[in-house]
Subunit: 132 residues, 2 copies
């Protein structure tokens, strides 16, 4: 997926997000301090606008087909410090802060990526330690 | 998306990936040292198996509808050190190493996420520095 958006005279590029057929971008939330990947979800245009306005990560739930403020039921809001955009403008990285001792995963783990698939051998998942 | 895979007697869980309607998982490649997100792409079952076997990140190209060994034309292979699996088993994080002075992005940038969308103001992209 080559190509880039037109640059403006000041050297800044326009943000022209490439939503998929369902109107969604992939969003990857990472810990603003450690860089650890916490979770991934999807955003439509409305979720992105709500995130910029509220500074709380807001996604689009594909199963419920509606906006979803992460943490609205658990209290584990993700305070968004920075939004990064990829070359294709179809994926975002959100640099976020969790509450102290908070968890991004519905299982109570800090990160959804709390298991590894070994590179060799049978396809069994192993637990891993996640740096805070 | 609640629920987890059945645990085996030894405490390990089975890997039961939840491929989407197109047979794909989202894969997020991060620098094994810095944790920086380098790129995202998609994997089907074959791409995942090829990645585990070759230890080189191998994706499925949706536009070309075929396997794609990252770096096969540019030389910027991603050597995979670890594969992390999320709670839903529909997303993977690959901890990878780029060649020295290598770039994960087709633009020549180290990471595809070389721009930020400011949290306030007009939707113009700004460049950012990426730690190596």
């Amino acid at each position: 997926m080559k190509g880039s958006s037109p640059a403006t005279p000041g050297g800044l590029e326009n943000f022209t997000p490439k939503f998929d057929a369902q109107g969604l971008l992939t969003a990857v939330a990472v810990d603003a301090d450690s860089g650890e990947v916490l979770m991934t979800a999807f955003m439509n245009a409305e979720a992105l606008e709500a995130t910029r306005t509220s500074k709380k990560a807001t996604f689009f739930s594909r199963s419920r087909q509606k906006l979803w403020v992460k943490g609205e039921s658990s209290g584990n809001f993700l305070a968004v410090e920075e939004i990064l955009v990829d070359c294709d403008q179809d994926c975002l990285v959100l640099r976020v802060r969790l509450p102290a001792q908070g968890s991004a995963c519905h299982t109570g783990e800090r990160s959804c990526f709390y298991r590894r698939l070994p590179m060799n051998g049978p396809a069994k998942l192993e637990r891993r330690l996640i740096k805070a």
